[in-house]
Amino acid sequence: MNGPAYASTLELMSGVILVCAVVTLWRRSLSAVVKALAIQGFALGAVALILGIRQHDAVLIVVACLVMASKGVVIPTLLGRVVASDPSSREATPIVNVPASLVGAAALTFLAYGATQPVVALIPTTAGRLVPLGFATLLIGFFSMVVRRKAISQIVGLLLVDNGIALVAFLATAGVPLLVELGASLDVLLAVVVLRVLAAQMWSKFGVLDLDQLRELRD
């Protein structure tokens, strides 16, 4: 892959990841949020793929395929099933309303750019300059976990955090070892499965997926 094409596709894919993070805050319909998450997973895989092709690193390409399969297909499918089983699958009353949380996301992006200046200065490559996008995704994920009430939204927030960390790892270190990446991916996959089971239990016991209603212990 030659210079400008490599840089612009890498920038584009990193941009897609951040935009998908914002879309999860923007849309109220949870099925749309899960779709955005799937696109984000694919974009993350694409980043790894581009880096792998650029550096002729076969392991990184394998990792890219794994990321696409787990974060682009498996996890969104699992979440999609939970969403489909919940008839009122909308984030109706988030703690912070949508326009305010979008402005918050913009502020967090600025914060990420400000905070990662030293890191960016350390890595003088195209990939290094994109590290702030990963940090912004991570911060938006935390924010989403704080301000959203539905169990699914919080899982999505967790996944955003994970995708942000993975993006920073790919961009800053040019790929983590396969074993570490496998471990992290499986870890997240397992967490999603457990959360999905928990959500299904919540749904069958209480008929809601709203975490704010789980204030007290019951028998």
Partner: protein
């Protein structure tokens, strides 16, 4: 070429752009209605119907409400005048339009806004409830769209180091990879949301509604009749065409004339017509599948546009 010939050539280019935008704008509205009708299973009015409507309106008697002051009559005139000015100096058919150096993106946007503000003032002038309601809503949406638009322009200007529109379009022609940069794409995404808001299309406003209570833009026109209504229709279609024309020239600049000469400018006009028609068809198709947003949900959409623009600006600053 002598100075006089230059002036004549510039005047011809400006005239060609103005005629294309005014006639083409009305045809664009016709095309969008036709596409919508087809998708809904109706035949729909012919494509040139808006032209016939406006011609008929211009032959009618001028009628003003008794209480109206000169502001009422000035609204439509200013609307059309601003659209004509922007049509003359924007890089629509050529990247070297007359007075191209003053075609700053910020300036052009504010000249266009002057038109919508004058229309809102005209609607307020008669003191009828619907006119006031429409103006108030239109200005609220305008006030929300404005910051997003400013930041979107900023995001597009940072990589080019200028907010001069002809230069922006020329840079797109010279460096196609700049168009695919995240900053530009995010800013253009935000620009699309703002165009929908500013030109009163779905999902923000329904241009074909007959319910006064849900109207935004149409409510401002209820008092207008005859030639004034004709001017407003013309001005609005020109505004939509101008905004779409700027969007397509920033997104896909190919076809725009980059050198002087009658042939290349004619090609540029043809390319412009084709690209804007495609954009119009896309919007009309999108409108068939969407419903109007609740008024209180509009800020969410515009906040989304704002965030896209901010992300674009930040990306432009860092990726630089």
């Amino acid at each position: 070429m002598t100075g006089f010939q230059n002036v004549v050539a510039a005047g011809l280019v400006a005239g060609a752009q103005i005629v294309t935008v005014s006639v083409g704008g009305l045809l664009l509205v016709g095309v969008m209605r036709k596409v919508r009708s087809h998708l809904e299973g109706r035949v729909g009015p012919p494509i040139h119907q808006p032209l016939l409507d406006v011609r008929k309106l211009f032959t009618k008697q001028r009628m003003h409400p008794e209480q109206a002051s000169w502001v009422f009559g000035a609204g439509p005139v200013v609307l059309v005048a601003t659209a004509v000015v922007v049509a003359a100096i924007s890089p629509l058919a050529t990247t070297r339009p007359p007075l191209g150096r003053s075609a700053d993106f910020f300036a052009i946007v504010f000249v266009l806004l002057l038109g919508s503000v004058s229309l809102a003032l005209g609607a307020l002038d008669t003191g009828t409830p619907f006119g006031g309601m429409g103006s108030s809503r239109a200005m609220t949406i305008g006030a929300l769209a404005e910051p997003a638009l400013l930041v979107a322009i900023l995001a597009m200007s940072i990589p080019a180091h200028t907010s001069n529109l002809p230069v922006l379009v020329r840079m797109g022609l010279a460096h196609p990879e700049m168009i695919a940069s995240p900053a530009r794409i995010l800013a253009l995404g935000s620009f699309v949301v703002i165009i929908l808001a500013e030109s009163g299309r779905l999902p923000i406003d329904n241009p074909s509604t007959h319910l006064e209570l849900t109207m935004i833009h149409e409510a401002m026109l209820l008092e207008y009749a005859g030639p004034d209504l004709g001017l407003v229709t013309l001005g609005e279609s020109m505004r939509l065409t101008l905004l779409l024309g700027l969007l397509v020239n920033l997104l896909v600049p190919w076809g725009v004339a980059d050198r002087p000469g009658a042939v290349s400018i004619v090609i540029g006009l043809g390319a412009l017509a084709g690209k804007v028609a495609l954009a119009g068809i896309a919007i009309a198709t999108f409108e068939v599948f969407t419903a109007k947003l609740r008024l209180f949900r509009v800020p969410e959409l515009l906040a989304g546009g704002f965030v896209l623009a901010v992300l674009g600006a930040v990306t432009a600053l860092v990726v630089r």
